[in-house]
């Protein structure tokens, strides 16, 4: 068979499938594998089966960084997908690329779809809205850090498992008791920069960066070396030296130690729920993230991590209509409530949270609403809306390096955070220059 014949032959099924080909295809690139990948596929299948105008094709493009890179490379080649999943630290990069993205509120308005931005939870969508309050991307999977407690480990150390752990002062005392009782890992953490600096700052209503954490302009500078942050990192550094805080790695390496029962306390994303529930053979509990009562009388809200969906520029109007329909489908209470309950990610609309409560999920799984309450108890301020910093992935890398120096005892908290701010500012200036 010659090449031409082959082409002809392969074209025949297409002609037969005429009516099907009339469907507009929507390309959706995401970063999920495993269980999450299956759940995304399930959402897409449900959408495709629910209507006949559009077909969404979901493609896995590697981890978060790889997916973003794939999207960027594809845009440069003029082959970009309709929807691209971008993790929260890539937000500033996407926002700055005004010629490459089409803001979600515009997509919705142009396609005539109903779109009520107020239906979305403020502290979730806040990360992805412009300074005038319009949603630029659709939050997809959002989580927030909480304190995971191994109740059995506390009991074994002779501590009342219901002990108050709402402040770091109280946690410090418990850590000492655990250490004295011979615990090899009183506390560990995942995502140290996200939890102990980014969220720490928001939670204590302290700026992480100037210009409202970068929301007001790209001429932002890091403010993470303020007295509150230094005090916290300094305390953590002392705990690390005393063997009360065990550092396991930059990502969620510490999770294995907590799930295995070695660590008593664990600061980790609320989305760690599925894994912990599946593996932990002990009595565990979710508590709100602690705060320093010396710094704030009561905590502000925490901020999110995770990814949002960006709509890429350069597609046909028909495709944008399909995108709008798909995004609306994803935001519907039933789909959101299911996603929230299956994954431990936060619901993106209040309706989905209410539905979950009505369904009795929070009663059956105590603690699963801690994250929702922690995020929504207070209206976000300029310091707790989120972070919008260029080159943020790399800045996190710098912060990781400097924090490691503190845990290893090489640097004081002040030195490390000053250095992190200085090095990070260098990258912020380059980002500012690239996006003038």
């Amino acid at each position: 068979m010659t090449y031409k014949q082959l082409m002809l032959a392969s074209a025949i099924p297409l002609t037969i499938a005429g009516p099907l080909a009339a469907q507009t295809e929507i390309e959706f690139w995401h970063a999920f594998t495993g269980r999450l990948g299956e759940l995304v596929a399930e959402q897409v299948d449900t959408f495709n089966a629910s209507q006949s105008d559009y077909t969404v094709t979901a493609t896995h493009k590697g981890n978060y960084s790889e997916t973003l890179n794939a999207g960027i490379a594809a845009f440069r080649a003029g082959e970009q997908p309709d929807i691209l999943m971008v993790f929260e630290v890539g937000t500033a990069t996407m926002m700055a690329a005004s010629g490459a993205i089409k803001p979600v509120y515009e997509v919705m308005a142009d396609s005539g779809a109903t779109f009520d931005q107020d239906a979305y939870i403020g502290s979730v969508k806040g990360y992805y809205t412009s300074s005038d309050g319009n949603m630029l991307s659709l939050p997809f999977n959002s989580s927030t850090p909480v304190l995971w407690v191994n109740r059995d480990a506390l009991s074994e150390a002779g501590i009342d498992p219901d002990v108050d752990l709402s402040t770091w002062e109280q946690v410090g005392e418990v850590l000492t008791q655990l250490k004295d009782a011979g615990s090899s890992c009183p506390m560990t953490t995942a995502w140290q920069s996200w939890i102990h600096l980014e969220n720490f700052s928001a939670y204590h209503d302290t700026p992480f960066a100037t210009q409202a954490n970068g929301f007001s302009g790209v001429d932002t500078e890091l403010a993470l070396n303020g007295p509150a942050q230094v005090a916290h990192i300094s305390a953590m550094g002392e705990w690390a030296q005393d063997g009360k805080f065990i550092y396991a790695g930059r990502r969620n390496e510490g999770g294995a130690n907590f799930r295995g029962g070695e660590c008593a306390l664990f600061t980790e994303s609320s989305a760690g729920y599925a894994g912990i529930k599946a593996e932990a053979e002990f009595d565990f509990e979710v508590r709100p993230l602690p705060y320093w009562s010396a710094v704030a009388d009561e905590p502000q809200n925490t901020i999110i991590g995770g990814a949002s969906l960006w709509v890429m520029e350069g597609q046909t109007d028909e495709e944008y209509k399909g995108v709008a329909a798909f995004l609306n489908f994803l935001s519907s209470p039933e789909i959101q409530a299911k996603w929230h309950q299956d994954t431990g990610y936060l619901p993106i609309t209040s309706a989905a949270a209410d539905l979950t409560r009505e369904q009795g999920f929070y009663d059956e799984n105590p603690g699963t609403d801690v994250a929702v309450i922690q995020m929504t108890a207070k209206a976000p301020t300029d310091n707790s809306k989120g972070l919008r910093l260029g080159s943020f992935d790399q800045i996190r890398g710098i912060i990781d390096e400097e924090l490691e120096a503190v845990w290893a005892g090489d640097k004081s908290a002040q030195e490390a955070l000053d250095s992190a701010a200085e090095r990070g500012n260098g990258l912020l200036r380059r980002f500012e220059q690239a996006n003038r």
């Binding site: 990069t93 790399q394 290893a408 090489d410 003038r436």
Partner: protein
């Protein structure tokens, strides 16, 4: 002595080297030229705009103490990987060369690790040395040693060197073994009859006769350590802790593909291009002179 084949005219030889030139042009000169061009700009990731900064990218790079430190890290890493992988390979090759029975099995087993991709090798070693659940870490703990490459830079460097050298030993072993077998037995026997012991024979006859192989492997291994160990570093340490295992190539990747800073990444590629050019010149000018073909 040398035989020279000469062609009449210029067209046939030109035609014969054309494929090679075309490949070099497409896969080397063109991208290298682009890297040099891009290193003069700060582009945004999507290629929507570019800011001309002249040598600004290079100034930014060399004013960064971590980048300057990365040169030393790269040198230490490359030398260690090369010495460890070549030393062990030579030792094993000498042993395998003397083996009479079962040499096939023995050789096959030694060559095996070469089939393991660097990233996979990285994951394997990471499992063994995982600070909390690793088997080796556990045994070290029994001996009273607290292994923690997540915070200890020297341990991290040691681990990436071992993981990078491990797969490379097989490759070097193959070449050393072939080199050893090419040495005429009569020469060695004659020396043995003259009363030269094994070590003397090795030092005065075998090693000098092996020098073309050693030189070739030296060049190839340094290039390997410079460019191909990326997967190992990415999986084991991601350049940490505190950039103690960030070699130059890894920084090109992390700035370009994690940081989306293509200007800086291009400038670093140009710096690497210069370094490797210099290294090759040094190797062929100074070390090759001591090689006996």
């Amino acid at each position: 002595m040398e035989k020279r084949v000469t062609f009449k005219g210029i067209w046939l030889p030109l035609l014969l080297v054309l494929p090679q030139i075309a490949i070099t042009a497409v896969f080397f000169f063109y991208p290298a030229g682009q890297a040099i061009w891009q290193s003069l700009f700060i582009p945004d990731p999507f290629g929507l705009s570019m800011q001309y900064v002249g040598l600004g990218n290079f100034e930014f790079l060399f004013s960064d103490p971590f980048y300057r430190a990365s040169f030393l890290t790269t040198a230490i890493f490359s030398i260690l990987v090369t010495v460890v992988s070549m030393g062990i390979a030579l030792y094993l090759a000498v042993l395998a060369d003397r083996l009479i029975k079962g040499s096939g099995v023995y050789r096959t087993l030694l060559i095996w690790p070469y089939a393991v991709a660097p990233a996979v090798a990285g994951v394997l070693w990471l499992f063994m040395f995982n600070t909390r659940v690793g088997v080796v870490t556990w045994y070290l703990g029994l001996l009273g040693y607290d292994w923690n490459h997540v915070l200890n830079g020297e341990e991290a460097m040691g681990l990436v060197v071992v993981a990078s050298a491990w797969g490379r030993i097989s490759y070097n072993f193959l070449f050393f073994l072939a080199g050893l077998q090419a040495i005429p037995k009569s020469v060695i026997e004659a020396a043995a009859i003259d009363g030269a012991h094994f070590w003397t024979r090795f030092r005065t006859i075998v090693f000098p006769l092996l020098s073309p192989t050693t030189f070739f492997l030296l060049v190839v291994n340094i290039v390997y350590a410079f460019f191909e160990t990326f997967g190992v570093i990415h999986t084991i340490t991601s350049g940490g802790p505190q950039q103690s295992t960030t070699i130059l190539v890894y920084k090109v990747y992390s700035d370009g593909f994690v940081g989306q800073d293509l200007g800086s990444s291009a400038a670093q590629s140009v710096v690497l291009l210069v370094i490797v050019g210099l290294l090759t010149i040094v190797q062929f000018k100074f070390i090759e002179r001591r090689v006996h073909y």
